[in-house]
Amino acid sequence: MKSVALSAENLCKTYGAGETAVHALDQVSFSMHAGEIVALLGPSGAGKSTLLTSLGLIQPPDSGRITIGGKTVFDDDYRVNVRDFRRNNIGFVFQKANLLPFLTARENIRIALEVNDASSKESKLVADELLEHFELGARRNFLPAQLSGGQQQRVAIARALANKPSLLLADEPTAALDSHMGRKVMELLKNVAHSHNTAVLVVTHDHRAIDVFDRIFIMEDGKLREK
């Protein structure tokens, strides 16, 4: 029996007030296990990104409870020190790779480790391992601008995994990639989930790679249901 990596209970988030109020999250509850890859589908404006940013503690919900790795990080009475917690427990991958343009592929991974107090030697070692794992060893000293979109996205995934997070949140990671590369990245995320025992939640519109997911959730009008 795998442990629960993420648990969300009754999450609510409302934008605006009165007649113009939009319920982006409406009593959303679900959980994910370690090593599981889950897709979050739904039309634009359904609340997918709001759920992702709430779980990633970027924009906390109005109410509810979030538990990550057995630790309650948000509820009505308690909020964890988000930056410290994120550093050790949550990885992010976005539609754009969002690599720091002035750092090489290797340095982009190293910085994620070094802000978490890793030594220079240790960070180089881990970054090189990750780059090899993602078949980017030969391009470790390339700046992001010198890498293709798929390569940049792989570096971004490697950076997200650098601190061995228990939860990886991916917001349309294949939107900027062609179908072949998109498929490759999705398979990579599945591999990450299974090999690193990380819970991976992927917001996507890309139905072509839907078979890689262990479970699929659909979001509509702020409500979540499992397909």
Partner: protein, 401 residues
Amino acid sequence: MINLAFKDIRHNLGRFLLTTAGISLLLIVVMGMGGIYRGLIQEATLIIDRAGADIWVVQKDTKGPFAEVSKLPRNLEYRIEAVAGVASAEPFVSHTVQRNKENRVLRLTIQGVADDGSWLPIIQGRALQAGHFEMLADKSARLPLGSTLKLGKDVYTVVGITGRMNSPSGDAMVFLSLNDAMAVQSDIPAETIRLERQARLQRFDTLPQGNTSVDHADILMSETHRPAALPGRQISAVLVKVLPGHSIEAVLEKLRSIPDVTAYTADEQREIMLSGFVARSRKQLLLFRTILIIVSTVVMTLILYTLTLDKLHDIAMLKLIGARNGVIINMILQQSLLIGILAFGMARFCGEWVYPFFPRRVVLVSFDLWVLFGIVVGISVLASCAGIIKAMRTNAGEILS
């Protein structure tokens, strides 16, 4: 830890260098202003220091030739030499002329020297040898060796070039023999002399010929009949050196008892110069420097703020991956300091090439440079504040925008 500031600079090197060059241009001017002030003091006190006199004797109730017109009779030096304790008394002649030469305006301060002027910093040519019609000119006058210049009724030849001899007002100094300097100062047009001679003869014509009575003697001495005299040669001051073993104060006291002169020590004369002419320039330069430092701070603040705005996305990403505020503050602060310090170094280096072309002498003093360096570090920190505040207010969620 990867140095983010350095990496970012390396990535945007052209922009960084252009920014630094811009700041350095401002600092060249700030540095130059300070140097001009120091140069002003040096030029102002140069002749007082070079003259080496213990006491300056000037026209009664005046502050001396550096503050106002001071006229003394030529023979005053002999009266002063007779005062007990005086080792030597030398006439001092200094006045400014403006001439046009080769389509340029030439402002010169003519200085009379009692000897050959070999004590001056002659960098080319020789000291004065002939008693007349030779001159030593400062390099800033741009009069080459062998060139000639008409002063008064005579033509003078440049026989030597001095280095860094400028008057308090910044004009190039030229050195003539004492008599030549007085001749130039007392130059009277030929027509004036001719008219005076004519007037004198006319007055004598009105006198009763052959009458030698006392009444006629009175008429001769009266204002209307006395031959009008053109002014004789005058000097600006007398420089007094006191004999060894004699007190300067005692000699000063004796000289002050002479009814038609005022005497100052060299220090008093220096103080008169600095508190009058230089003080106003100092205030003006200080104002310019303050304005320029404020402008530099505003420019640096805007540049660093813009640089930070360009990096907000990266800063949001850094926050998202858990970077502490210190990492982000360090990046902005280090860049700001690097721009400030490099701009200072660039200004210092380029200044060496630029300042010789300034119309006034620029004297850079270590103390002033260190103070300016401190100010640059201060404004670099200050300038980074706006960027840091903006960065601190940036939310990790902005990575999604």
